[in-house]
């Protein structure tokens, strides 16, 4: 029998104050997969990701990591297993790239115990993996958007976790930098990391995900390999968008092409 997946949300109710975003939501993160969460705005994608990262305690139900409720585990111990790239982070003004990346080492440090050697190696490895080693002494504020995003990913990598969660890592990037970031995540995934990302672009999701979670109104409406679940019917149900799904000529993954119903009429 296959062992249970390391990270999953079991029947969680997620809410900000009185606003309930999701009720009785169950979602599983396959180990070693590249999971992408998609869905319309305000469907609870980011909320689910924050719950998986232990940032948002569920009102009911539980998030389970390695068979135990994540809320019952020490925060730093969880942070050594799950890394997170939040939607918006703040670079302290004037901070150098390597200093920012080094802040990802926090869960491995304590006042009394700290391995400078291991910190240095992890920071160097994270910067090399994201291609920012040459920028080590540069000031983060002065970098381009694409470079800055790679630095943030490096910070999450320096955390040295098996699972890494990313909330809309491609937002605000131009298309070349979007692809660059996604290729980077795919490479990290091939090297063994479990990657979970919230993405907006369905085609990018279909192209890179090994496991797709489609959400609507706080519920998971479909999950599985993109090729198996991404149908015209599903997309029109979830997004209210009539569209055509055909194989991507480059990768063979499903390619979603919106129809404009009134103006063009059916294409096929």
């Amino acid at each position: 029998m296959r062992p249970a997946e390391r990270l999953r949300a079991e029947a969680v109710t997620l809410a900000y104050g009185r606003r309930v975003v999701a009720e009785n939501l169950t979602a599983v993160v396959p180990d070693g997969g590249f999971t992408v969460i998609v869905g319309p705005n305000a469907c609870g994608k980011s909320t689910l990701l924050r719950a998986l990262a232990r940032l948002l305690p569920p009102r009911a139900g539980q998030v389970v990591l390695d068979g135990r409720s994540i809320a019952s585990q020490p925060t730093k111990a969880v942070a050594r297993q799950i890394g997170l790239l939040p939607q918006s982070s703040i670079a302290p003004p004037g901070i150098a790239v390597e200093d920012l990346v080094a802040r990802g080492r926090y869960p491995h440090q304590s006042l009394l115990r700290r391995s400078l050697e291991r910190d240095r190696t992890a920071v160097a490895r994270a910067m090399a993996a994201t291609g920012v080693s040459d920028l080590a002494e540069q000031v983060v504020d002065e970098l381009s958007g694409g470079q800055r995003q790679r630095v943030w990913i490096a910070m999450a990598l320096a955390q040295d976790t098996e699972i890494i969660l990313l909330d809309e890592p491609t937002t605000f990037l131009d298309i070349a930098h979007q692809v660059e970031v996604l290729e980077l995540l795919a490479r990290l995934n091939r090297q063994g990391k479990t990657v979970v990302a919230v993405l907006h672009d369905l085609n990018q999701a279909a192209r890179y995900a090994s496991h797709l979670i489609v959400m609507a109104d706080g519920q998971q409406v479909a999950c599985g390999p993109p090729a198996a679940i991404l149908t015209e019917d599903l997309i029109s149900r979830v997004f209210g968008l009539p569209c055509l799904v055909m194989p991507d000529p480059v990768t063979g993954a499903p390619l979603v092409i919106p129809r404009s119903a009134e103006r063009l009429g059916p294409i096929a």
Partner: protein
């Protein structure tokens, strides 16, 4: 070590040396002037006569208090500014000093005068005000800007209440209270300086222990939480430490404005550091308060309270800060 860190280390060394140098000069200044060599001889015990009495018993408390209190105020300011991510988010702006003054006035009005009443009242007043501001600003976690706005509102109310109390007090009591309220480190001897310095020294290691958490909070709550920081408890602990530092200083010396506001910002500009250089702020705060106290004693036609000098210098700094911010936003 990268170039920013080298720069910071060099600057900290320079600030430390400047502070010590100025301290030696300050110990020699006064009605009985001494050369730096004589001061050093008195400090090391080679000189035991009158010079020793002047330096160690008379002048040293004031100089030590200036250095330590300045450092404490600056660190307190650095903690608050880092948490609020705003150069205006310093304890004197959000009402802690005013609250200490209220506490002192209440103590003087109802419990009788005396340093113990003023000090105790000020300590409690400052901490209660900090708690009040935090409680009023708290909603899904205390956010920086709201904390400042609430703090400014609380300051205004407490200020009005302070004036009301001063008007009601007997004249001589009001005079004493007003002198305390101007903020002066000149009236402190070793017997009062000692406990305050010990209390501040006890807080210092706690600040050091909180520093990594502070660095994480600078990245935003989500990133900090993702790194395994307990965000809200850490923020509360840092606020409590910052409030404690300011309250202890204010309890012994009265409100001394603007050191907490200006020192961290100037330190940051000098080090070009990534937010809140705690050590550089402390060094600069000590140096700044000592310099302000020397100006108060010797550079003016009439000796003035230290607090009056920091207000004037700080006011100039505040105008400069406003102009810079306005330019930046335009």
């Amino acid at each position: 070590m990268n170039r920013l860190r080298r720069r910071r280390a060099a600057l900290q060394l320079a600030l430390g040396l400047a502070g010590l140098g100025l301290a030696v000069i300050a110990l020699g200044l006064g009605d009985y002037p001494l050369t730096p060599a004589q001061v050093l001889a008195a400090l090391t015990g080679q000189e035991t006569g009158f010079a020793h009495t002047v330096v160690v018993d008379w002048r040293a408390p004031r100089v030590a208090v200036a250095l330590v209190f300045g450092a404490a105020l600056a660190v307190s300011g650095a903690l608050f500014q880092s948490l609020t991510r705003n150069p205006l988010g310093s304890p004197d702006v959000i009402g802690l000093s005013t609250g200490s003054y209220t506490g002192a006035l209440v103590a003087v009005a109802w419990l009788g005068s005396g340093r113990l009443a003023t000090g105790g009242g000020a300590l409690i007043g400052g901490l209660v005000t900090a708690g009040l501001v935090y409680a009023l600003a708290r909603r899904d976690g205390a956010q920086g800007f709201r904390l400042i706005v609430v703090g400014i509102g609380v300051t205004a109310m407490l200020h009005a209440f302070n004036l009301f109390l001063l008007m009601r007090l007997r004249e001589e009591v009001a005079m004493t209270a007003a002198i305390w309220g101007a903020g002066s480190i000149g009236l402190i001897g070793w017997d009062q300086a000692g406990p305050a310095i010990v209390a501040l020294a006890l807080i210092a290691p706690l600040v050091v222990a909180c520093a990594p958490g502070l660095r994480q909070l600078e990245l935003g709550d989500d990133a900090a939480g993702g790194h395994g920081l307990k965000v809200e408890p850490t923020r509360l602990a840092i606020l409590a430490l910052g409030a404690g530092l300011t309250a202890i200083v204010t309890a012994s010396a009265g409100p001394i404005a603007f050191i907490s506001l200006a020192a961290p910002q100037i330190a940051q500009r000098l080090t070009r550091s990534a937010a809140t250089p705690l050590l550089a702020s402390a060094l600069l705060g000590g140096l700044g308060l000592l310099a302000a106290d020397l100006v108060a004693q010797f550079a003016l036609p009439v000796a003035a309270p230290t607090g009056a000098v920091t207000v004037v210098l700080g006011g100039a700094y505040l105008v400069d800060l406003m102009i810079r911010e306005a330019r930046r936003l335009r």
